[in-house]
Amino acid sequence: MKCTFIVYRYDPEGDGQSGYQEYQVDAEPTDKIVDCLNRIRWELDPTLAFRASCVHGICGSCAMVINGKVELACQKLVRDFKTANNFVIEPLPAFEVIKDLVVDLAPFFDKHRAVKPYLQNEAAAPEAERLQDAENQQSFETALRCILCASCTSACPITRANPDYLGPAALLRAYRYISDSRDTETDERLAAVDSEDGVWGCKSMWWCTDVCPKGIPVTKCLAQIKRLLKQKEKAASRPSGPG
């Protein structure tokens, strides 16, 4: 069946103007949006630029705006949209466009680095594995689904308003290490996000959770960090008992 794709175009080597270009694509209802974009590139217009690789929702390359909402182009099929086979495709908001649908994610990964996204544990490792309670491992299982596609951070209204806000993806990674019983730097990690540019920047607007292509309850994970900070504050203000 015939589908109309109206795609955002911008060429930094062109006249400096951005605009929209219309393509007619013959697609099946079960085709992924990324299949349609590939067909445009391979059959109609090889100048169209976008990122995509695994095309099944695990590499995180192809987040973009489809009919007004942040989506992974490889995880949405033509039949998933009730827009009479019309599609408007735009680059992720909140990031600078490099060309067409390709955006500069350097600021996104800079924030990721800022939360020290690696296990910290100074104790000498045993010869075999460190033991970890299965329940503890499962407690942050949803955060492990993150594929760093930047959908949440891009959709977050706070990110758009405050460029210094760490954003939901980086905070989710902080949550993953805060929750992991093998990590010993929990207090430092909590202190590092205890600010308006950190977790208190989150006003629970749920956009991150709404757009997450992996179904991660991002807002709840961030709320969990807030809860831990509150508990710490309470414990610190409580007078120490006798003895």
Binding site: R41, V55, I58, C59, D133
Partner: protein, 574 residues
């Protein structure tokens, strides 16, 4: 632009990152990748990593080694397989120490589950050997190693496509790369170069592989004079989603899922009475197609059912999260209630750049090293997978041999110097790019790639025979001619995907030719290579590796002996 490093690693998947971590602060290292590191295809690995930890039941590395040898249909080099199976245990503990969030047993140890071809006591029954993090094991290991690389300050050159290797008098001393964002040509000079560029599934129409899996490292090494080994052995994973090829992990069967034909029969019981649905992939892929040929495909079509409906919500919810989503999103199937339609999908290249067990690229049957050049992971052929790889052994391969390559490079760097480059490879590359852009040919990459993928799927996938292979070689050579007449629509410098498509297609064509030539040469059936005109394994004629070397007269085939230590070739039954 010119850069100088001690070592340059091409590819930011598990093999490349593991080597980078090994080199760490001991050397100046750059990692060059066509895609941003976390987009690497290692992240798509689902089911697990094999290691005889014995956390759930008794297991021994010798059993793992035997299973791997038998799985390889006796074509794997047993010295390398022993190294891998032994080192697997240390490797998994190391991953855990680095932070990989493995699922846990009730005692808090790393959880394990059964996987295809992995058995206890030399084939008695399936054994729980696969260590896993739900069904996103590759993804969490990739994230962990990437984050460890960030911590160590390793320099990344993301979205750089390698155009050629620089070789002076048989010594590899650098590479020329194209920066996608700007179109600039960069020369990287180095003492040691590691190729870790992964697979080449995009040679086939139906594949579980990423768009980026175009075999660049294999093709670059081949063009630079390194032989490719055992290229005819291409793994078709039995359970790709029908028509799409998206992988449904073997973990689904490890957790108890079964394959059924149109009569609802669990047909693997007939083909592999002992381990049934946990038989190795080459065998199950063939069995599915046999069922289809016998008219027992679902609705008479070319697929069967993968039934998980009896597993229960707990298993599905905790251990098979991703694939349940895949089934829902792409096939519209709720796998807890209905079977998933599946068919074989191109998944893995057992063959690749010939190396020794320390990642050194070798140039002949005597293991003479290609000085300065190393390879690891799927793009390399050590060979630990021989004619058929077992599930859970690819993550293991990338990590064991990625690390060993890193160690070998570190030693190599001690007395290696930079080689003077007498030619001007950057200008040559720039000239080639501008010629490509200026060309007014009428051919398009997309159309040529589609034809290549179709003919390879038709004639060089699970079943093969001489006539189809010969016809395919003709087609590939014809497509190669058309490739030289490609005209680019995009003449720009910024994210010129059109240019990248043309360059990648050149690699696919080179590799498709070596695969098809190897398949025609090997007049026997072994592992993933099934010749309908030669249905039996022929140890007398073909118990050796197929080596292909590039030459001006076309690809040249020669042989390399298989290393056999403790397991003599036997009939392969499950």
């Amino acid at each position: 632009m010119e850069h100088q490093f001690d070592a340059v690693i091409v590819g930011a998947g598990l093999a490349g990152l593991r080597a980078a971590i090994e080199l760490g602060s001991n050397a100046r290292v750059a990692v060059i990748s066509k895609v941003f590191a976390t987009r690497s295809h290692s992240g798509a690995a689902q089911g697990g990593i094999g290691a005889a930890l014995g956390n759930e039941e008794e297991d021994r590395w010798e059993w793992h080694a035997f299973d791997t040898v038998k799985g390889s249909d006796y074509l794997g080099d047993q010295d390398a397989i022993e190294i891998m199976a032994k080192d697997a245990i240390r490797t998994v503990y190391e991953l855990e120490h680095l932070g990989v969030p493995f699922n846990r047993t009730a005692e808090g140890k790393i959880a394990q589950r059964p996987f295809g071809g992995h058995t206890r006591n030399f084939g008695e029954a399936p054994v729980k050997r696969a260590c896993f993090a739900a069904d996103r094991t590759g993804r969490v290991i990739l994230d962990t190693l990437w984050e460890q690389s960030l911590q160590r300050g390793i320099e990344f050159y993301d979205e750089f496509h390698v155009l050629s290797l620089i070789v002076e008098d048989g010594v590899c001393c650098g590479l020329v790369a194209y920066e996608l964002a700007t179109g600039r040509i960069h020369t990287f000079r180095c003492k040691a170069l590691l190729l870790a560029t992964g697979g080449a599934g995009k040679i086939y129409k139906t594949t579980s592989n990423a768009l980026a899996s175009t075999g660049d490292g294999m093709a670059l090494a081949y063009q630079a004079g390194a032989p490719l080994e055992d290229m005819e052995f291409v793994q078709f994973h039995p359970t790709g989603i029908y028509k799409l090829g998206i992988l449904i992990s073997e973990a689904a069967r490890g957790e108890g899922g079964v394959l059924r034909n149109n009569a609802g029969e669990r047909f693997m019981e007939r083909y592999a009475p002992v381990i049934k649905d946990l038989a190795p992939r080459d065998m199950i892929a063939r069995c599915i197609l046999e069922e289809v040929r016998a008219g027992r495909g679902i609705d008479g079509k070319d697929y069967v059912h993968l039934d998980l409906t009896h597993l229960g919500a707990e298993v599905i919810g905790a251990k098979l999260v991703e694939i349940i989503e895949f089934a829902k999103t792409y096939a519209g199937v709720d796998a807890a209630k209905a079977p998933i339609p599946v068919q074989p999908t191109c998944h893995y290249m057992m063959g690749g750049i010939a190396t020794d067990a320390d990642g050194r690229v070798i140039i002949d049957e005597n293991n003479t090293p290609f000085r300065g050049l190393f390879a690891a992971g799927e793009c390399a052929c050590v060979s630990v997978h021989g004619a058929n790889r077992l599930g859970c052994n690819s993550l293991l391969d990338t990590l064991v041999f990625g690390r060993r390559s890193g160690i070998a490079i570190r030693k190599f760097l001690k007395d290696a110097a930079h080689t003077d480059i007498t030619s001007d490879p950057a200008s040559d590359a720039a000239h080639r790019i501008s010629e490509l852009k200026a060309g007014d040919g009428k051919e398009k990459s997309g159309a040529i790639a589609a034809e290549l993928q179709a003919v390879m799927m038709e004639n060089v996938s699970v079943f093969r025979q001489a006539s189809g292979l010969r016809a395919t070689l003709d087609t590939i050579r014809d497509l190669r001619g058309r490739w030289t007449r490609i005209g680019l629509a995009d003449k720009g410098n910024c994210f010129n995907r059109d240019l990248l498509d043309a360059l990648e297609l050149g690699h696919l064509l080179d590799l498709a030719e070596t695969i098809t030539m190897g398949a025609l040469y090997r007049e026997e059936s072994r592992g993933a290579h099934s010749r309908e005109d030669f249905p039996d394994r022929n140890d007398g004629r073909f118990l050796h590796h197929t080596m292909v070397r590039h030459s001006d007269e076309g690809p040249q085939i020669f042989q390399k002996p298989v290393t056999i230590t403790r397991y003599q070739p036997k009939e392969r039954k499950y």
